[in-house]
């Protein structure tokens, strides 16, 4: 058990993967000497060489496209996209090639490619550096989408993503990079696609993932002061989604609020609301409410605190759900 920031846990996880499997490669812009703009790959090129930790040309489609080729040759590339907003030049390779090649080949080839994307807002950045594109990947069959909310999950879920024979979109909550937590590097982790009840409660379920888990835990604490018992489910996986765990929670509480940073419209909350309503129709005492981004581009930094779902907006939704 060690205390580690999420960034460090990811770095350790990559190090372990590079050590234990010579086929694992790390590639992306500035991942070498610089260690990536968030230093997630810090020191890796020094220790594993330029052949394993590869500074690439500035071309995201090229990065993912060559990663596919390397995977076809038997490698297991872990690609770093510098920021969420810069994954789109690679979107074609991800959606039309990476996601589909296993099916196209009737299973004859596997593409164990991990695409790491620091995502979501809250760091005061300029445009294109604060986005939450998870729904744009989760809608696409052939991809898996996971996102850790704490250091232990960061460490283990990245290991699991690299070990997985399918392409995995690995979303890293960038504003939590410096949050610390316990990491047991000798534990045996459960499936990365299993949701976890991060906080037990009885009155209402909050479902969240990545950066919003912390906000929901804080909301639960604040609500507890008002005598309300909120359960917090950390979804961890957005494709697939562990609806069983969520269903069990909602059957208990009868109410669900989903929280994410991405725009609500066509966001992951929609899928969760639709499916949980179908599964728990007779248990729900209120409609599933969603708290998330507005249907507007991510605003300039000076507005992001008001834009981002925070304690107040979560508790407002809790009030509304409980008032039904």
């Amino acid at each position: 058990m060690t205390q580690m920031a999420i960034a460090k846990a990811l770095n350790e996880s990559l190090r372990k993967a590079l050590e234990s499997d010579p086929k694992v490669l790390v590639m992306g812009e500035d991942v070498g000497k610089l260690g990536g703009v968030f230093r997630i790959t810090d020191g890796l090129q020094k220790d594993f060489g330029e052949g394993r930790v590869i500074d690439t040309p500035l071309a995201e489609s090229g990065i993912v496209g060559t990663a596919i080729g390397l995977a076809l040759r038997g490698y297991r590339p872990v690609v770093e996209i510098q920021f969420d907003g810069f994954v789109f030049p690679a979107y074609d390779q991800i959606v039309t090639q990476l996601a589909k090649m296993h099916a196209r080949a009737l299973g004859k080839v596997k593409l164990p490619v991990v695409i790491r994307i620091p995502y979501a807002g809250g760091i005061g950045a300029v445009e294109h550096h604060s986005e939450s594109p998870e729904a744009l990947f989760a809608h696409v069959p052939g991809l898996k989408v996971i996102t850790p909310s704490n250091a232990s999950d960061a460490y283990w879920m990245l290991q699991q993503a690299i070990e997985c024979d399918d392409p995995v979109i690995f979303l890293e909550p960038k504003r939590r990079y410096w949050d610390k937590g316990e990491v047991d590097t000798s534990a045996l982790p459960g499936s990365p696609h299993q949701a976890v009840v991060a906080q037990q409660g009885t009155d209402l379920t909050l479902a969240a993932y990545g950066p919003m888990v912390k906000v929901c835990l804080e909301a639960a604490a604040a609500a507890a002061n008002e005598g309300r018992s909120l359960e917090v489910v950390d979804l961890r996986s957005l494709s697939p989604i562990d609806f069983d765990t969520l269903q069990a929670s909602v059957e208990k509480t009868g109410r669900l609020v989903v929280v994410h940073e991405a725009p609500v419209f066509y966001g992951s909350g929609a899928e969760i609301a639709a499916r949980i309503t179908e599964r728990c129709f007779y248990h729900l005492e209120a409609p599933v409410l969603r708290v998330g981004g507005f249907h507007a581009p991510y605003p300039p930094a000076r507005l992001e605190e008001e834009y981002l779902p925070g304690l107040d907006r979560v508790l407002d939704a809790v009030d509304r759900a409980l008032a039904f």
Binding site: G65, A67, I68
Partner: protein, 393 residues
Amino acid sequence: MSVKSTAAGGPPAKSRGRTTRAAGAKRRGTEPELVQLLTPEGERVEHGEYSIDLTPDELRGLYRDMVLTRRFDAEAITLQRQGELGLWASLLGQEAAQIGSGRATRPDDYVFPTYREHGVAWTRDVDPLNLLGMFRGVNHGGWDPNENNFHLYTIVIGSQTLHATGYAMGVAKDGADSAVIAYFGDGASSQGDVAEAFTFAAVYNAPVVFFCQNNQWAISEPTEKQSRVPIYQRAAGFGFPGVRVDGNDVLAVLAVTRAALEHARSGQGPMLVEAFTYRMGAHTTTDDPTRYRADEEREQWEGKDPIARLKAYLDKQGLADEAFYAAIDQESDALAKRVRDGVRTMESPDTMAIFENVYADGHALVDEERAQFAEYLASFEDTATAGASGEGH
């Protein structure tokens, strides 16, 4: 069979000027010279940089490859007309470009085709029937790429050039001396992915040959809509050599591609080969080229036919007799029959195949949807079995 000169593989020449001019001419009338070893009339000519010396058997082999490929292609067109295939992309006219380049590869080399490389597939011993699956609509490809080191057909234009480059980066990492060849078209040369492939290949000195079949058309658009200079010239600006070869001259294509693969194999990095050829047929069976191109153009190119050209040479040299041609005709008929029979008995996949191979390691939602759909389908069987009515639709 050895490539005598691989001069193109030499180190990049030192830059002499500080201004590079747009080399080449704008209109087709002034196309630059191309590497040719066999004239359209079947005369063997020499070339300073590229040469080839084939045995009679090898020459006859190339002829056989081209004739069988063309016959297979014709059969596929017929099958499409008969409704056995949903679509077909004919390679008519491009046999030399494909057979010549395909025969230049070694078994350990890896090939990344577009959707039209039936001739290359032939040289890689891919069963022609396998190629028909996606055109019949029974699969999206589905052969095992690693069986013949021949990747799946790729429809999204240009994508495969990056896969080839990545694969070649892996070859280099492994210290293997194999090469990779990526096919693409004149239209594809405009896609950003292809430029990125050039960049990655150059920067990592990857052993990949970019093989552009310039068949003069991207559906209805002539090459001028993609580039105002010959495509092979694109390479120099990325730091590797480019060469234009007569794509209807199977000897020249073989020689140039071999040299390019050797260039790659020997650690000198990528090379671009532009095979100057012609799409004699429609873009695909749904296309109507009379809407956009003149018959005369096609007729002109008929005079450069790759098969007639090699036949003229074989005949002049007395390398083939009636028996040889008769045997190939027979072989063609047999191939055509095998293809016809094979396609007609090609089974449609089971409905539940929809859910197969979406993931290698499984996905809960796919499992759930598979089970629900199976149950849904079963509900009809029950209805049918029970002979019940009223409830069913």
